[in-house]
């Protein structure tokens, strides 16, 4: 950020006259918008993906009809514009706010949730250079920011002034908080191996082909760590097997019941953005991030900087597919089972992996 | 406004400290008092870190701030448990009602 400002200042454009601070503001706004749109777009894609995959899993077609008049695109078919339609629907839909609810909170809650997820992207390594702010405490920052979402969930639950949403909010908050612990611990395993919190350091540690990926190091331990991390982050995103709070049968849409229209879209969007975040986060940590699986096999062709974002996104999509897959196959966990897995299964195993890796590294 | 120096941070922390204190002093609800306390602690942390930045090189200040955060967390947990117990006991958390220790 600092270098950018310097560059602009001495670029004799009309902008250089502005004070550093003004420039900083401009850049802030700029980056924010960029990310918001990128995330939004990806989310829409994933919504569509999810609808199609879940359909095919359940041996049905999923959305096929919705299409647009745009010449090229219309012949893709397969209802590619479905999410667009949804998005437009939500945008246009009347935004109902329960009368006794706390208007302002009702408004803020979704945005807090959304910001938390989007902010995490600023650290994600799409390529060696392609990272917004190459923070030294990258991984730790992600954990910190994601914990914001808890607040958002609680406020949403509370602001909609109805028992179910409150309980849903509370329950999901509890779930997010309790799953934060195993995910935090597991991250520790990787950080121990790499010795640094910067994403790029972690990724570079895994350069050199699929065999160097962390998932395969210290054989069983890192794999367990990956699984724990996958499940924990899934639970944090209130997805699939852990999506009790939104379980339709009991708590309708959980904390989001009273939301409709644009705010609900925001929720929906942040959920999928969260999925995408998880994908990138896990691939960076375990699957070698932007390094190509082939390593120096094809003369390091695939390792060129250009391929780096492709690899990381591919891996992310794979993880997302895995998540969706899980969602539509596994039954929902009961609340006590939910808590049980978190405290009695994931956390102990996380400890085991930490100790294991720790000991292993000593010898 | 002159360049942001140490004094700015000190003023900021003083201000936050004062606001936290005000919350503690004036708020009726126990939880808000707890919030006030958290704010005071953060104000103190700002001081620590400011001095660790401006006054000496190694990170003693920051370490200390870290420990403050840890203890604050523990403190908040216990405080909250107590507040909830008060609530269970007296059906309300307003501090002015919890004056059984009155002289």
């Amino acid at each position: 950020m600092q270098e950018l400002i310097q560059a602009v200042q001495n670029s004799q454009t009309f902008l250089s006259g502005l004070s550093e601070a003004a420039l900083a503001i401009i850049f802030f706004v700029l980056f924010g918008l960029v990310f918001a749109t990128v995330a939004a777009v990806c989310a829409l894609v994933f919504v569509y993906l999810e609808r199609k995959i879940s359909a095919h899993m359940q041996d049905r077609l999923g959305p096929m009809e919705v299409n647009t008049g745009i010449p090229l695109l219309k012949n893709i078919g397969h209802g590619w514009a479905q999410t667009l339609a949804d998005a437009f629907k939500l945008l246009l839909k009347e935004d109902i706010v329960p009368n006794a609810a706390d208007r302002r909170l009702h408004l803020i809650a979704p945005f807090i949730l959304f910001c938390a997820v989007i902010a995490a992207f600023s650290v994600m390594p799409f390529g060696e250079k392609l990272v917004v702010s190459d923070m030294n405490i990258g991984v730790f920052f992600v954990l910190a920011i994601t914990s914001f979402s808890v607040i958002g969930v609680i406020l949403a639950g509370w602001a909609s002034n109805n028992k179910w949403s409150l309980l849903g909010g509370m329950r999901s908050a509890a779930q997010i908080v309790s799953y934060e612990i195993p995910s935090g611990l597991v991250v520790l395993v990787i950080v121990m191996q790499v010795g640094s919190l910067r994403f790029n350091d972690i990724v570079m540690a895994q350069a050199g082909g699929i065999l160097h990926w962390h998932i395969f190091q210290f054989f069983p331990l890192n794999l367990i760590a990956f699984i724990i991390s996958f499940l924990a982050t899934l639970a944090e995103a209130n997805r699939a097997p852990f999506d009790l709070p939104e379980a339709e049968s009991e708590l309708t849409a959980g904390f989001a019941t009273e939301y409709s229209g644009f705010k609900w879209a925001i929720f929906y969007l942040s959920e999928y953005a969260n999925m995408f975040l998880i994908g990138i986060f896990l691939s960076a940590l375990f699957l070698g991030g932007w390094t190509s699986p082939f390593g120096s096999l094809f003369g390091g062709f695939f390792d060129k900087p250009g391929w780096q974002p492709v690899w990381i996104i591919l891996k992310a999509v794979a993880i997302i597919f895995l998540q969706m897959w899980l969602r539509w196959t596994l039954p929902r966990l009961r609340v006590d089972q939910l808590m049980y897995t978190s405290w009695k299964v994931l956390t102990p195993f996380a400890f085991v992996t930490i100790f294991g890796v720790g000991l292993w590294m000593l010898f | 406004m002159m360049a942001v120096g140490l004094n700015h941070f000190l003023v900021l922390s003083a201000l936050l400290f004062v606001l936290g204190l005000l919350a503690v002093l004036t708020k009726k609800n126990a939880v808000t008092v707890l919030m006030g306390i958290e704010l005071i602690l953060n104000a103190a942390n700002i001081n620590f870190i400011a001095f660790s930045r401006y006054a000496d090189t190694d990170l003693d200040g920051q370490l200390f701030a870290l420990f403050v955060i840890i203890t604050a967390a523990a403190g908040a947990a216990v405080a909250l448990a107590i507040v909830l117990n008060i609530y269970k006991q007296m059906r309300s958390v307003n501090l002015d009602e919890a004056d059984t220790l009155a002289g």
Binding site: E20, N136 | L16, L22, A72, A81, N85
Partner: protein, 165 residues
């Protein structure tokens, strides 16, 4: 106005305003939200002061943990939902006066005292040095802190249990 000053003022004002909101607002939740933004902006200020690790811990612990806790506290300690959460204030006037007096004193102190100020070095990543310092010099406090947290955990759990049963 340097970029640095700007961010400082942004965060400072954010913190003060939200702290003010916390103090003066009637609605409990608004207090909580006020506190939330205050803590977030304080995290920002930490970053400005080169304490990046601390900023992250601040966010993680305060915002993720304590604030969530407080919110839970608020919700659990309300007789029945739905009613506007009013929290009055006590002895506001005297409080204000005393607090203002204190603030003036603090200011006087700040400006009178000659702080042994050094020119700040550049912002180095602090995590490694903190990690090293904790594991070497401050091992014992660190262990004690862990025990403290354990105790707090058990204590809170115990009280909460009794509270529920």
């Amino acid at each position: 106005m340097s970029y640095f000053d700007l961010t400082f003022y942004v965060f400072a004002i954010g913190a003060v305003v939200s702290a003010g909101m916390m103090v003066f607002s009637r609605n409990l939740i608004y207090c909580a939200v006020g506190l939330l933004f205050a803590l977030a902006s304080i995290a920002g200020i930490y970053v400005l002061l080169g304490a990046d690790f601390l900023a992250a811990t601040q966010l993680l612990v305060y915002v993720g943990g304590i604030l969530a806790l407080l919110l839970f506290g608020i919700m659990l300690s309300v007789k029945f939902t739905g009613v506007e959460l009013r929290t009055g204030t006590l002895q506001m006037l005297p409080g204000l006066i005393i607090v203002a007096g204190l603030f003036l004193l603090l200011l006087r102190m700040i400006y009178r005292a000659e702080w042994a100020v050094q020119t700040p070095g550049d912002m180095l990543p602090t995590t490694t040095t903190i990690g090293k310092r904790i594991m070497t010099d401050l091992l014992i406090p660190f262990e004690i802190a862990s025990i403290l947290l354990l105790i707090a955990l058990i204590g809170a759990a115990y009280m909460a249990r009794r509270e529920r049963s």
